[in-house]
């Protein structure tokens, strides 16, 4: 579904990704140390960063030069790292924002509210006043409301309580099993590998190792990350 070919990208004068190619599979996990360039790769995928060279292909279409909103319109959804929200909008407005203009907008919101009860409880509170974990739930809910074909998740369980981590992991697995494509960055290697068909380990902006997912891959990944 999503192909990232030979991506070179960075910020200002510094190059962060040195020609990274993503393995092609429905569910791909990207692993690596802090600062390895995982988030950068995801930002390239969604279009927040223009790669200096390389190609982003989604659903057979070259989207390298499309802005993020057009990629979203084509079925990508993105949950950034760091519990981001629209702080001055209420929880409900945060959700309505993405539901606007969708036919089943209302019921999509309902669906997410029942998935994340905390959001229902704080529907009228400004998102900026929510706790970190609540905001992260909101971010995931926002992404799901767009009914994406592909979900790009940047450490979606960071800062979330274990029960909800489990819930999120379950949701991701389920969506994946329903046919949704997923590009996932996770520190929980076990979960990442369980969900993923293929994985990519990034080290200092280079693809250090790739392979098939599954629990058996864990050893290899740990080794690749250790270097």
């Amino acid at each position: 579904m999503l192909e990232l070919n030979e991506i070179r990208a960075g910020y200002g004068p510094t190059l962060v990704l040195h020609g990274v190619t993503l393995p092609v599979a429905r569910v791909v996990a990207v692993l690596g140390h802090n600062g390895a360039g995982k988030s950068t790769l995801l930002r390239v995928a969604i279009g927040l960063i223009k790669p200096r060279s390389g190609q982003v292909v989604f659903d057979g279409e070259d989207v390298t030069s499309l802005p993020p909103n057009k990629r979203v319109a084509r079925g990508m959804a993105y949950v950034p790292q760091g519990q981001q929200s629209f702080p001055q909008l209420t929880t409900m407005e945060n959700l309505q924002l993405v539901a606007d203009g969708r036919k089943r907008g209302k019921s999509l919101i309902e669906q997410q509210l029942s998935r994340f009860p905390a959001l229902e409880k704080f529907a009228t509170r400004k998102a900026g006043l929510l706790s970190g974990g609540q905001r992260q739930q909101l971010a995931i809910a926002r992404a799901l409301i767009t009914e994406p074909k592909m979900l790009i998740l940047d450490e979606p369980t960071e800062g979330i309580q274990p029960t909800i981590v489990a819930e999120i992991e379950h949701t991701v697995m389920q969506l994946a099993s329903e046919g949704l494509s997923v590009l996932l960055v996770e520190q929980h290697i076990g979960f990442a590998l369980e969900a993923a068909e293929k994985y990519l380990v990034l080290a200092s902006g280079f693809a250090a190792s790739t392979g098939d997912g599954g629990a058996s891959a864990a050893e290899g990944v740990r080794e690749a990350m250790a270097i």
Binding site: N69, V98, G101
Partner: protein, 294 residues
Amino acid sequence: MDALISPLLNGTALGALLLLAALGLTLTFGQMGVINMAHGEFIMAGAFIAYLTQTVVASSNVSILLALPLAFIGAGLLGLLLEIGIIQWMYRRPLDTLLVTVGVALILQQVALQIFPAQGVPVEAPDWLSGQIDVFGYAWPLRQVFTIVLAALCLVSLAVWLKYSSFGRRIRATVQNRDLAETSGIRTRNIDRITFFVGSGLAGVAGVAASLIGGTNSQMGTQYIIPAFLVVVAGGVGQIKGTVLAAWALGIALSFFAEWTTGSMAQVLAFVLLVVFLQFRPQGLFTVRTRGLT
């Protein structure tokens, strides 16, 4: 009692004019964070458009009504041009937009000075605006009533648009987190453009009102810009109801001070009062709280 009526009514009308001048800023400054010092020159553009309309449609009874939408569109287009040409590169540097737009303001003033007669041009009020209505024995000029009605209309439409339309939500979202808005599927560039268009367009409408009150010339914008920003700041940036209250309070204060002292002293006192007020309510009349290290 009588001594209070006239400054009260004059002040309300003055407040309405200030509100008109400031309403656009609640969008461009309050929502988008752009400190547009050329807003005064957009007001000027609105006034000149009122004049140009009059040169085409001779009857001032009709032309002023025609001028309102035209000024909205004309000033809006100017704003759009500014957004596309300059502001779009600067959303991450809000304070710097102040400097850029000072430059734009200087240029627009000079252009107006060279296009139009230096002394300014006349904008004739329609007949239906000459005359007064009696309020407790005070003959209240109709033109002041008109300013108030116009301000109220703009205010209500803007408030409804922002609060209840999905567009309003999208504007606010874009301002608060541009990247997130973009990756939530919002066409942020369109939002920027439309917001700036409407905000600047409102300045144009204010310009039509201003053209009926004072001179229409290249310098006219300069007298509105600072009070308009003060009104927005005192109201609580981005808070329309705060802006309304602040504009009204400033108008009333200016009027009463002018009643008791001189026109110049009134300016000084009103400014100082505002600064002192912000001392006590640094985030304005109405505030929005957020958490964290912002």
